[in-house]
């Protein structure tokens, strides 16, 4: 081959190669277009761009902002958050033990040794969910324990921090991801299927790092030893030794109990403190821990339960240590000596079906055979029956079972509470208690008033707890010797029992009832104190105070007063199919106080789903059909000239303008918006409904920085407009204490204040929807996600949650309870079939949400799990009949983050009034039909029932938005304008540019080929 031919071929290869390059990039750009469209919302959130905006031309735009902030700047806002965070921990930290060591003197503040690596790497939030968002350079920078103590004037042993820092690699946890590993220097919670590994450095490791590390302890002999357990979404502890890393051999009987390395550390502190030193154990955990041995250790002077205190809570802890604040927190959970011995623990784990099916997410089942006896309702009831010698309670020793009861908490002072009077008003359905609280000590402080009721129990009748919390309140700060009376008005709904066999107003079965008999009301320092009062009133010699018990007698069973809910709906059995015996008769025995030992829960594993169950488990329940009514009866696409802004603040859904407005919406819009909910509501052009951004929590509105959606255009008249150079725009509000600390305050005012700062933040950050109110109960401490929920008790949960949600609404912030319902394990949380009795469901878990909804919550998140064998969103009894029907919920409902279109059960969810899924996609009917094969305009447009449900869902969603700050700044004339983002321009540019280049390169290739020839 001659040189010219060689050169020609070389040129040909070059142009062929370049044609390939340009054609490939062109193909990439063309393929990217639908991807960009499908993921536009999340791209915008990630990149901080906007693909659309609403333009309002009104001249008097000031009036368009209905909700007002309490603050005039972001500085004031952040100051309020910081201040609240500190006070939340002052009142939410629980003093569990104190032999007089606390508070520390001024001198003792100057000689503190912080021990345990979690003192330097504390857990301030969850690993996932309620995670701390550290902030620096803002007006409310977050602080850890060392920073908080230092700021409060403590002097710390200078040798120890470098010691622990030098050992960092020994307690770091590598979490593997496909993209590499993420290193946590704090403890982490075991992933699902994993086990807990103790990370506390051993004594030999400490000595190996610094042989003289103990030398300074004699000078700094106020020892604070931090014992931590992490919390996390999508993580779990497992009961007993099965939950502990078997390779460690650290004599650890339970992941929530101590390891030898932790014991040794505490003991080292005890031995080093000397005659005038002190040992204080700081518990840094959202889950109740097994701490009996610390309580029993005479060398340990004090125990503080700080929970996960957020970014400012350690200021509060420091103030308690120094005595600047007097502790008034009380436990929101029972601290059992052996958690694995609880009835709930017998059925906590991964119990796979024998016939699982991944195509339908049919994975496991959990039978909650403990019945209503969860948390203190078990411990205190069994104790009562031991005392009373009934119910085959056996040789069961309360003191060996419980370290600290529910509601327990010490103070630096003492209080005396007297139940002065009690009035039951069946007409008003209230119990009014007058309680006098006297500070009998010599330090000012607050106390928690806990009002309990003991329902009449008849052996073999309805299950009843020996005591249950009926209401609570926090006192003001009472000076030494000061006495003050408080009035608590409790909702009697919270003392009803669900009887699945009772006749009801609907003419069927199932009703809330009050049994005939004596109702004993009492106040107690904790649940155990309360049950002792009740037992004393019943004649038992248990040291209780019978004088603090008031009795109300009901002569005959009342099945009428609570036969209808607050909105007049007749109640009836809705969850019969949650009982595994409904499907598999005779399978489960639920725990009964009529025979504690005989009904003790077995472990229900290896269940086999029958064909009937599999028919529900396939998530395909509703049949789209042209036989479901007359399609012409449902109007879409009308031209009525309304916009959502015309109904701003209209709370009456019977206002005819609502139906006129919703007649304007198109079927396609309804189908796309319900099918592709994603992480915001998205704009609906036909009714001018704006996009409303969703945010996770519950420890603050933390999904986006304050500035990402903040309004920087003051000309709009927005009183919360910010300057573009505001230093607080980078602030992320994942800084509040985790929910159990809020529960431990027993202070509704603080919960309300939290809702208020969230509401204010929502206005400044333009973030309307907040999944911030965790109302699942702490069924058991092993659920590593307990940090997102308040308590094991539903009344405490609903009490705190209600104040929180209501306060947010004042500012147009939609704070949503989550997750309705029974999302009490992270093991197979998508798919797990949850079985329990309806009494258990209604008196425990559902009671924790009911009052919040009945008082007007406008947003709510459903759960991943199944209710019985039915996917949560598809369960008509729970979602449509209880939530919407009995409780009267009208608002926005999102499913949890389900990314499987099959498991989403969209058509069933819509039929139940769920307004949005979490799947995302392009804003077209074709895209949504591709995701859900049955969700085609052709099919749905023939089903009048489904179309009506779609309109109903969209009506409820937009009703919520119309009564939120999402409509701030909008008027009737507002219009949606599309905006081309830089990435749109990039994709288009690539398409054009590489299209031209491809043609050019191909042409050059042809020319070079001809030249060669």
């Amino acid at each position: 081959m001659n040189a010219s031919k060689k050169s020609g071929r070389g040129s040909q290869r070059l142009w062929r190669g370049l044609t390939t390059v340009t054609a490939s990039v062109l193909a990439l750009a063309l393929c990217a277009q639908p991807l960009v469209s499908a993921n536009r919302t999340d791209l915008d959130k990630f990149l901080g761009t906007q693909s659309s905006k609403i333009v309002t031309d009104d001249s008097d735009s000031q009036d368009l902002f209905a909700y007002k902030s309490d603050y005039t700047s972001t500085t004031e806002l952040l100051d309020a958050i910081e201040d609240l965070g500190e006070r939340m921990s002052e009142e939410g930290t629980v003093l569990l033990k104190n032999n007089g060591a606390l508070p520390l003197s001024a001198g003792e503040k100057g000689k503190v040794s912080l021990l345990g690596f979690s003192s330097y790497y504390p857990l301030m939030g969850g690993i996932m969910g309620s995670s701390l968002t550290p902030n620096q350079g803002t007006d409310a920078d977050t602080v850890d324990l060392v920073q908080a103590l230092t700021a409060r004037g403590f002097t710390l042993n200078p040798d120890l921090q470098p010691l622990y820092q030098s050992l960092e690699s020994t307690f770091a946890t590598e979490v593997q991801t496909w993209a590499g590993s993420v290193t946590y220097n704090t403890l982490t919670a075991p992933s699902v299927g994993g086990v807990f590994s103790s990370k506390e450095p051993s004594q030999s490791a400490l000595t190996g790092a610094d042989a003289n590390w103990k030398n300074g302890l004699s000078d700094y002999n106020v020892m604070i030893v931090t014992i931590a357990r992490a919390a996390s979404e999508n993580a779990t502890y497992l009961p007993g030794e099965a939950g502990v890393d078997p390779s460690q051999n650290l004599n650890q009987a339970d992941p929530l109990g101590l390891s030898d390395d932790e014991r040794d550390l505490i003991q080292a502190a005890v031995e080093a403190k000397g005659a005038d030193g002190k040992v204080i154990v700081l518990l840094n955990s959202a889950s109740a821990l097994e701490v009996q041995e610390i309580q029993d250790n005479d060398g340990v002077d004090a125990i503080l339960q700080a929970g996960l205190p957020g970014g400012y809570g350690f200021y509060g802890v420091a103030d308690i240590l120094s005595g600047d604040a007097n502790p008034s927190g009380h436990l929101s959970d029972t601290y059992a000596a052996d958690i694995s011995a609880s009835p709930a623990a017998q059925n906590f784990g991964n119990f796979e079906w024998t016939n699982p099916d991944p195509t339908t997410t049919t994975n496991s089942a959990i039978v909650q055979a403990e019945g209503i006896y969860m948390g203190y309702k078990y411990y205190e009831t069994r104790y009562a029956d031991v005392v009373l010698g009934q119910g085959n309670a056996g040789a069961w020793d309360y003191d060996s079972e419980v370290t600290y009861p529910f509601g327990y908490g010490l103070s630096y002072t003492t209080f005396e509470q007297t139940l002065d009077s009690l009035k039951v008003d069946l007409g008003e359905k209230t119990v009014t208690a007058e309680v006098t609280v006297k500070n009998t000590g010599d330090v000012a402080g607050k106390d928690a008033i806990q009002l309990y009721v003991s329902l009449p129990y008849i052996t073999g009748g309805l299950e009843k707890a020996a005591v249950q919390l009926l209401d609570y309140a926090k006192t003001d700060e009472l000076a030494p010797g000061e006495s003050k009376s408080y009035t608590l008005t409790a909702d009697m709904q919270n003392m009803t029992s669900w009887d699945s066999e009772a006749d009801n107003a609907a003419g069927t079965k199932g009703c809330f009832v009050l049994d005939a008999g004596d109702y004993l009301f009492t106040v107690g320092d904790d649940a155990h104190d309360a049950v002792n009062n009740v037992l004393a009133a019943q004649g038992a010699s248990v040291g209780g105070d019978s004088a603090n018990v008031k009795t109300w007698t009901l002569n005959s069973r009342d099945g009428d007063t609570f036969a209808r809910t607050k909105n007049g709906t007749a109640v009836e059995n809705q969850l019969a199919d949650m009982d595994v015996n409904y499907w598999l008769p005779g399978t489960a025995t639920y725990l009964s106080r009529s025979d504690w030992q005989g009904t003790w829960p077995k472990t229900y594993s290896g269940l086999t789903a029958t064909a009937e169950m599999l028919d529900i488990l396939d998530n395909d329940i509703y049949v789209i059909s042209p036989d479901n009514g007359d399609p012409a009866s449902v109007t879409f696409g009308a031209q009525n000239g309304l916009t959502l802004a015309d109904l701003k603040g209209v709370t009456d859904l019977d206002d005819p303008r609502w139906s006129q407005l919703m007649d304007q919406i198109t079927l396609e819009e309804c189908m796309i918006r319900t099918g592709f909910g994603g992480t915001s509501t998205k704009a609906i052009p036909s009714i001018m409904s704006p996009e409303a951004i969703q945010n996770d929590g519950p420890n603050g509105i933390y999904s986006y920085p304050l500035g990402q959606y903040a309004n920087t255009d003051a000309s709009t008249g927005d009183p919360c407009a910010v300057e573009a150079d505001d230093p607080n725009l980078t602030y992320k509000f994942g800084t509040m204490a985790a929910a159990p600390v809020v529960g431990q305050t027993f202070n509704k005012d603080l919960a309300r204040e939290f809702g208020e700062v969230c509401g204010n933040y929502s206005l400044w950050a333009n973030l309307t929807i907040y999944w911030g109110c965790g109302t699942n109960l702490h069924r058991i401490p092993y659920n590593a996600r307990n940090h997102d929920y308040y308590s094991e008790d539903p009344v405490l949960t609903a009490g705190q949650g209600n104040e929180f949600v209501q306060a947010g609404l004042k500012y147009g912030c939609l704070i949503a309870p989550k997750h309705l319902a029974f999302n009490d394990t992270e093991i197979n949380r998508s798919g797990v079939a949850t079985f329990m009795t309806e009494q258990q469901a209604r008196e425990n878990e559902l009671r924790g949400t009911q009052a919040i909804v009945e008082n007007g919550a406008l947003a709510l998140m459903t759960a991943y799990n199944r209710v019985g064998v039915t996917q949560d969103n598809a369960h008509t009894g729970l979602i449509m009949n209880i939530l919407h029907g009995e409780w009267g919920f009208k608002g926005l409902i999102s499913e949890d983050f389900i990314q499987d279109a099959n498991y989403t059960a969209l058509k069933e969810a819509v039929m139940n009034g769920v307004t949005m899924s979490c799947n995302t996609g392009e804003n077209t009917a074709a895209a949504v039909a591709e995701k859900y094969g049955y969700w085609t305009v052709d099919a749905v447009s023939k089903d009048a029932q489904l179309m009506a449900a779609l309109k109903q869902a969209m009506t409820w969603q937009n009703y919520a938005l119309a009564n939120s700050n999402a409509l701030d700044g909008l008027s009737s004339s507002s219009r949606l304008v599309s905006v081309r983002t830089w990435y749109d321009n990039l994709v288009t540019g690539l398409q054009i540019g590489f299209g031209v280049l491809t043609v050019a390169c191909a042409a050059m290739y042809v020319m070079s080929a001809k030249k060669k020839d």
């Binding site: 081959m1 071929r9 040909q12 290869r13 070059l14 062929r16 190669g17 044609t19 390939t20 390059v21 054609a23 490939s24 193909a27 990439l28 393929c31 990217a32 639908p34 991807l35 499908a38 993921n39 996932m128 593997q176 991801t177 496909w178 993209a179 992933s191 699902v192 299927g193 994993g194 979404e233 999508n234 991944p358 195509t359 998508s830 983050f897 990314q899 499987d900 279109a901 099959n902 498991y903 799947n919 995302t920 290739y1005 080929a1009």
Partner: protein, 138 residues
């Protein structure tokens, strides 16, 4: 004729594409992704690319023709389409597994998706590079 570097690179690209297709097929059988099914665009493009690359190698053993060069251009284009389509179908799953659903089983399920995407991308890049070279030395 002696084999040129283009020959080996084309083989390598086809092998990577085969790995990608196999990994994708396996991924479609995992518990997490089973409901998404097999996307004909992904599998079709990958298989076509492999077939075209095989054809290209065979027909060019007797020398390059003008029309055979299109066989060098098309496979990378098809492979980039497969890569982007596959990645697009897995984006939300990846995001979910890396956040809300991060556990050992889901991570294992995710691995084949990542392998599939990576293999297709490698096949594309190698295929593009191969198009600058002939398969045989003239």
């Amino acid at each position: 004729m002696k084999k040129s570097v283009g020959f080996f690179m084309t083989i390598l690209s086809a092998a990577a594409a085969a790995v990608g297709a196999a990994a994708y097929f396996m991924n479609c059988r995992t518990n997490y992704f089973i409901n998404l099914g097999i996307d004909p665009v992904v599998m079709g493009c990958a298989v076509c690319a492999i077939v075209l690359q095989a054809a290209y190698i065979i027909v060019t053993q007797k020398g390059n023709q003008l029309w055979t060069d299109i066989l060098a251009v098309l496979p990378p284009v098809l492979l980039i389409v497969a890569t982007i389509t596959l990645a697009g179908s897995r984006i939300s799953g990846i995001a979910s597994i890396m956040t809300f659903e991060n556990n050992a089983q889901n991570m294992a399920d995710l691995t084949s998706a990542i392998v599939g995407i990576a293999a297709c991308l490698i096949a594309t890049i190698v295929g593009i590079a191969a198009s600058f070279f002939d398969t045989v030395k003239e």
